[in-house]
Assembly symmetry: C2
Homo-oligomer: 422 residues x 2
């Protein structure tokens, strides 16, 4: 209904050929925001006139591209409120590193996108562009919705549990959670320092790969793979698969069959015990770190915090250092076990969420399918293109070895194109 | 001349027994600051009246303790300026995690201590309490000087190269750089995210260990070891030892002999090639990360930055992602090599700096003796008590295996007490 993503690659080609100018391209984004954001509430603030004027004369590979920034990243020209009344009107002195990277490449930071409170589970006001009665997911709610609705061709978010991949799945766009610390988190509000991962959204996998390459200077742009011959895909079966909606199970099966038809070898993988334990350890690592990261807010502004984040912080404050250290050891063993999986296969195929976006706006969905890979730090790409009955999107994820981000993006792109041909 | 550190343990005992009250203890710190900080310039801002009043009625194990906070840690009640005019008057909305930890334990954040510009090499105005004609070292210049001069019994700083251990050595106080991420860096200005380590200062090793225990709830307080029987100490010989001032060489020899006399077994260790390479990789990791962390400042406020940090950032911006990745691989191998050292010995004994504090204030000293251990993340404790001719302090460092912080503190305390008996 509102879903109409704009391809970054196509827009850059149009800018490059002169079919559209920088100012006209940015105006198109502003007009789309004007037209639909009253209904979708993806943005919590918009760029001031001076910043728009500066973007009109910007140069660099992203000149003319409107970029949405999750409102936990600092911006010097707009408030940064973390989805919390505690930070109402707060204006940092400098841009976050990722924001500065986007600006120096010519992008226009067109506005700040809605986040759940401190990127946790108390929801933002944002609605799903595919059906506003449903959640867009969280915590990067606004960035996923803004890209899905074509308000921007590119946006950034962050993931501590499932906050990039889950909203990308719910909104039917590409989401990319890079290898841990491939994108800097400097100037991003910390929730859990050993989990927080900055990520990106764009219309397609090819678009998000191009975005990542232009931002970082790393060779991430997808190659035009013609088939999956020689590629092995692990169907990663976890103890959490019982939580899957039958429609997500069917989407997973369809993605696997699509890979097989393209020539890939499918390999059944039972989740190793070390990774069962690692998923269980996620909550301890997250809770202990969050209770420290947000200690001042919890101590001095308790009454201004939502019930879900308070419950997480209160539980986290009760975790002893020895329990945290034990969870970190389990995480370290889990990272090695995750690396070992890729001795057998090139990539894993896993569901991006337990099902389509839940109805309502109080619950942003379950991160159970994502949090293990956030803890291990492996790159994950949400591949859009599959649908549930009624038209809500269903995403599947490609996971590769730590540092093999280009491979995750290339294999995700292959799947996305193969699905589109069906 | 101004050097007169106040023991945290002694002050806490006095508070506990009622020999001094909370308000009187804080007043003593304020009066000492009033008396000497005009000459030493350790503080860049002081707590407002409301914060002092709140501290008078604080409870917790650190109630009555004046705590100095390096001015790269956010404070909600005082400006946080990072030693840079770009941040003049900047006031964050929340306390950094470590500051909030200190406050919730009852400490009074009595002021912000001077830092070199962005905790790099352009100096602060601070002078060395042992001789104001000399540098106190950097980048945690003010915290080290404030503890040495007895303005506060406790302070925090940070180390990316040698910014805790070097000023502790130059100022003759205990400095503790914990295992990487034992203390949270949330709300601390990032210079290089895989190196930045929050650390602590106090009068003696026993004091800094007590401080760390009270802040974190971890069992770090030193036990009363009576001798070094059964302990093996590695004399770590690196290719950089040619840089040592003969007085530091003599101090190192004296510390080794002291250990031996206390019953320790001394082991000669030649620096392994993996650690030679790791030290060389430090600059690449630091430069690449700093160029991203401070991209906005460098892009928009170049004219307001000092020559040393600009040179570091400009060089860092020229480092390619592939060069950075290669340096990170070398660092990872170095961490394993560092761990392997402790299969042979319990602790390493190394110089904390190449010599005593240099004369003048333009140069804060060379971090060459420290940066390897910052990169590897091992705990390091500066042990005070040795002196150069003329009375300037010379520190030696105890380094232990990653995570064995309590051992580094206990062994450092043993050495400090043995030196005091000589």
């Amino acid at each position: 209904m509102y879903a109409r993503p704009v391809s970054l690659a196509a827009r850059l080609a149009d800018l490059d050929s002169g079919r559209i100018g920088v100012e006209a391209s940015l105006r198109e984004s502003l007009e789309r925001i004007e037209a639909v954001d009253g209904d979708l509430a993806a943005f919590v603030s918009r760029a001031p006139e001076e910043s728009l004027a500066a973007a009109h004369s910007a140069s660099g590979p992203l000149a003319g591209i409107a970029f949405g920034v999750k409102d936990i990243f600092d911006t010097a020209d707009m408030p940064t409120e973390h989805g919390s009344p505690i930070y109402r009107g707060s204006r940092p002195r400098a841009d976050a590193a990722l924001v500065a990277m986007a600006r120096t490449k010519g992008a226009c930071i067109i506005g700040k996108t809605a986040t759940t409170e401190f990127a946790s589970m108390d929801p933002a006001a944002t609605r799903n562009p595919h059906d506003p009665a449903h959640t867009p997911g969280g915590s990067s709610s606004g960035s996923a919705a803004a890209v899905a609705a074509g308000m921007v061709p590119a946006a950034c978010g962050s993931q501590t549990g499932g906050s990039v991949i889950r909203p990308a799945s719910f909104c039917g766009v590409a989401g990319y959670k890079p290898s841990f610390r491939l994108l800097p988190t400097v100037g991003m509000k910390t929730f859990a320092w050993s989990l927080d991962t900055a990520g990106l959204f764009a219309a397609s996998v090819a678009d998000v790969a191009l975005l990542a390459e232009l931002l970082t200077g790393r060779p991430l742009k997808v190659p035009p793979l013609s088939g999956a011959g020689g590629i092995s895909i692990g169907l990663y079966r976890s103890g959490k698969d019982g939580d899957l909606d039958p429609q997500m199970q069917a989407a997973w099966d369809q993605a696997a069959a699509t890979f097989e038809a393209a020539g890939a070898r499918l390999v059944e993988i039972e989740e190793p015990a070390a990774l069962v334990a690692a998923r269980e350890a996620h909550g301890t690592v997250q809770g202990f770190e969050a209770a420290h990261a947000l200690l001042d807010e919890r101590s001095r502004h308790r009454g201004a915090m939502g019930p879900k984040i308070l419950a997480t912080l209160d539980a986290g404050a009760a975790i002893l250092p020895a329990e945290y250290d034990a969870a970190r050891r389990i995480a370290r063993i889990g990272r090695k076990a995750a690396t070992a999986l890729f001795e057998e296969v090139d990539a894993l195929l896993v569901p991006s969420a337990v099902g389509p976006a839940p109805k309502g706006h109080a619950f942003t969905g379950d991160p159970v399918m994502n949090k293990l890979w956030t803890l291990t730090g492996n790159p994950v790409v949400n591949v859009p293109g599959l649908l549930a009955q009624g038209g809500l999107p269903l995403g599947v994820s490609i996971v590769t070895r730590f540092g093999r981000d280009a491979e995750a993006l290339a294999i995700g792109d292959l799947l996305e194109r193969a699905l589109a041909r069906q």
